[in-house]
């Protein structure tokens, strides 16, 4: 059953009471929402996601609601609870959806479900995952959003999740968070892209979320082996250029972006060195998305041809 299969009134009631167990690929979250307007935004953005019914084993429990009875009416705001504990300070109710998305990110980062989490967007083509590790603000969400409309499958715009059993990447595609100018850029880049409302006045300025293409959600149980690592760097006015990185430097780049490298001990080392052995590392500097997509396609072809001719 998909979220869109549940009639709106029934969905609102379920979210308010027992909650829904929403499956985003690698993670299932037991989600409860007590704010009526947020139910609507959620139903729009997550229409094509399946719910587990009857519920199985949840990975996280998240509740978004008014922080207190008074704040339902006076200075309406939204707060998030994970496993029953409140985290984040409340934000104005009109930005409740950003709390939901941050909450779902937080749930991934703290669930400990996966042995290895790398702060990176990740996309797939020809059964090869391209990991795009980068700190916030380097355009990894924007680039992965663009790629997701040009033949690449979006696995995540935020966090690369590795399976502890075989080291493959577990997709967990969710609405892509775009900030400020990136919102217009993606809207102009791809007319089919559908967006949430724009939330103004967040700590990062304006934020809007792009719904992942239907294919990304429909295929989110298909895990992928890492194929290449490309660190994106948005640089205004620059032509797309690519530079190969030494493997050692690339490994360090991965380690720096790993959420839980040191606590993963041997397994963290093995997972990341395994990637370093399999993959080539590049730095991609770009300003124009079409050019960046071309470069990504070229890098993929190169990696496929080197793999074919030993």
């Amino acid at each position: 059953m998909l979220i869109s299969d549940i009639p709106h009134a029934a969905l609102a009631q379920r979210l308010r009471q027992e909650g829904v167990h929403i499956d985003t690929g690698a993670f299932t979250t037991h989600l409860r929402i007590g704010l009526p307007h947020l139910v609507e935004e959620f139903a729009q953005m997550y229409a094509q996601y399946p719910v587990e019914d009857p519920p199985g084993i949840d990975d996280a429990r998240l509740r978004i609601d008014a922080p207190s009875f008074i704040s339902r009416y006076w200075a309406p705001s939204a707060a998030a609870w994970m496993d029953g504990e409140k985290f984040f300070d409340p934000v104005p109710a009109k930005r409740a959806y950003t709390v939901l998305e941050s909450g779902l990110n937080w749930a991934v980062a703290t669930s400990l479900l996966s042995p290895m989490l790398v702060h990176a967007a990740v996309v797939e083509r020809a059964n090869r995952a391209a990991i795009l590790p980068a700190p916030t603000g380097s355009g990894k969400s924007t680039l992965s959003a663009a790629l997701s409309w040009r033949g690449w499958r979006l696995l995540s715009d935020e966090m690369t999740v590795f399976s502890f059993e075989d080291g493959t990447i577990l997709p967990n595609p969710r609405p892509v968070s775009l900030k400020n100018k990136a919102i217009e850029i993606i809207a102009a880049f791809e007319p089919r892209a559908q967006f949430s409302p724009i939330y103004t006045g967040t700590a990062k300025g304006d934020v809007a979320y792009m719904r992942p293409p239907a294919d990304a959600v429909a295929r989110f149980k298909e895990s992928v082996l890492p194929g290449l690592v490309v660190a994106p760097q948005y640089h205004e006015g620059m032509r797309a250029t690519v530079k190969r990185m030494e493997k050692m430097e690339g490994l360090r780049w991965l380690i720096d972006n790993a959420v839980n490298y040191s606590s993963m001990l041997r397994m963290g080392f093995d997972t990341l060195t395994g990637i370093a052995e399999r993959c080539e590392f590049y730095i991609l500097t770009y300003s124009d998305l079409e050019e960046a997509v071309d470069v990504m396609n070229r890098l993929l072809e190169e990696s496929l041809s080197t793999a074919a001719s030993p």
Binding site: G56, F88, S111, L112, P115, F164, E165, A203, K204
Partner: protein, 368 residues
């Protein structure tokens, strides 16, 4: 009185293969409560050692695996910190007594298996504690930055000095000179604790003797506020089971309890491990320990408070009785820690500080 989900957790600890009959939803609760109670890593180890891990549902397996890695990571950090401490104290002539988790780990006791660890708890004689502190600071550990009141709180009233932390490894070291606050109603004999310490095979390190180790675990769990009470009670269950296999242990335990004036916490330990983990205690020992029991009506209240208050905090947020039991445990731990006037002043200072912090605090938004 014990919720079904917690009973299944207890069963999983005592009889790990029993988990293989759990439904998906029961696994869901076991993972949630087990992690909250700090016991998931243990279940994971047990199932792996028995070759049963692959029979666990895939989703639960991922959580169990993660919990085990997290426990292993803690254990590695503690082993390394112990190693660094021994090195830093090379020129200080003092026997280092490991306490709690670090002791279980370095002595290779069964309760260390799959156990999470946080702080490194050490004990040295009071007259050497300054030398040890200075030696650690000289080797790069930093003392916690505390105001005058907190400094005084630790140094004059507590059983430990302000925590030390190495800036890169960040494992907090709690350096003790005894096992209960100086201001508390119980006054264990610190010299006797050190004199009876058992040397480990590793040079310079020791742990408390078996009876003292049990008593320390008991006084910590039943007189202090602890974050993972069910895990600590399971530690006690395992210590009693491990040491209790030797018949003389039980009489030593009673004798040491009398010596340290820790009869009451011992009574609670024996009673509650039996109630929850069905720990085997010789009946004559139980009879002897009952001399330390509180008056009957108080005993009944304490039974209720401990069982309720020890339940994992997750899933019981809306439960008024549990919240009440936890609050009573909190109040009681403070009551036992210091005399009434001192306590009143301490709570007043803490409350003022909290108000101040709230006024100063600026809201953080969207910390994505």
């Amino acid at each position: 009185m014990i919720p079904d989900a917690v009973q299944r957790l207890v069963r999983a600890l005592l009889d790990p293969p029993s988990t293989l009959n759990l439904s998906a939803r029961e696994w869901n609760d076991l993972v949630l409560i087990g992690r909250n109670a700090g016991l998931l890593g243990r279940i994971s180890t047990e199932l792996k050692d028995r070759g049963l891990f692959h029979k666990v549902p895939q989703k639960a397996r991922a959580h169990l695996h993660a919990a085990l890695i997290s426990a292993e990571s803690d254990q590695t950090a503690i082993r390394f910190e112990v190693n660094r401490v021994v090195r830093a104290l090379a020129t200080v002539d003092v026997q280092i007594v490991l306490l709690k988790g670090a002791a279980y780990l370095m002595a290779d006791l069964p309760c260390a298996r799959g156990r999470m660890l946080g702080d490194l708890d050490l004990m040295v004689p009071l007259e050497r504690i300054e030398d040890v502190e200075q030696a650690l600071i000289k080797s790069g550990w930093l003392p916690a930055e505390l105001d005058d009141y907190d400094q005084r709180f630790y140094r004059e009233w507590m059983h430990e000095i302000p925590p030390l932390q190495h800036p890169t490894r960040e494992t907090p070291i709690d350096l003790h000179h005894t096992i209960a606050p100086r201001t508390s109603r119980v006054r264990p004999d610190a010299k006797a604790l050190i004199a009876a310490a058992v040397e480990l095979s590793a040079p310079r390190l020791s742990t408390l003797g078996p009876a003292d180790m049990v008593l320390h675990s008991a006084v910590h769990l039943f007189n202090d506020e602890v974050s993972k009470p069910l895990r600590d009670l399971f530690d006690l269950h395992q210590l009693l089971t491990e040491f209790g296999a030797r018949a003389e242990f039980w009489n030593e335990l009673m004798a040491r309890a009398k010596l340290h004036g820790l009869g009451r916490p011992l009574y609670y330990a024996l009673r509650n491990t039996r109630r929850i983990f069905m720990t085997r205690v010789p009946s004559e020992i139980e009879k002897t320990a009952s001399q330390f029991a509180p008056a009957a009506p108080i005993g009944a209240v304490m039974d209720w408070i401990f069982i309720r208050g020890f339940m994992p905090s997750v899933g019981t947020e809306k439960d008024a009785a549990t919240a009440c039991a936890r609050w009573l445990l909190y109040v009681r731990s403070h009551w036992l820690r210091m005399p009434p006037f001192m306590l009143a002043r301490h709570l007043a200072i803490k409350a003022m500080r909290q108000i101040g912090e709230r006024l100063r605090r600026r809201p953080i938004e969207d910390p994505e």
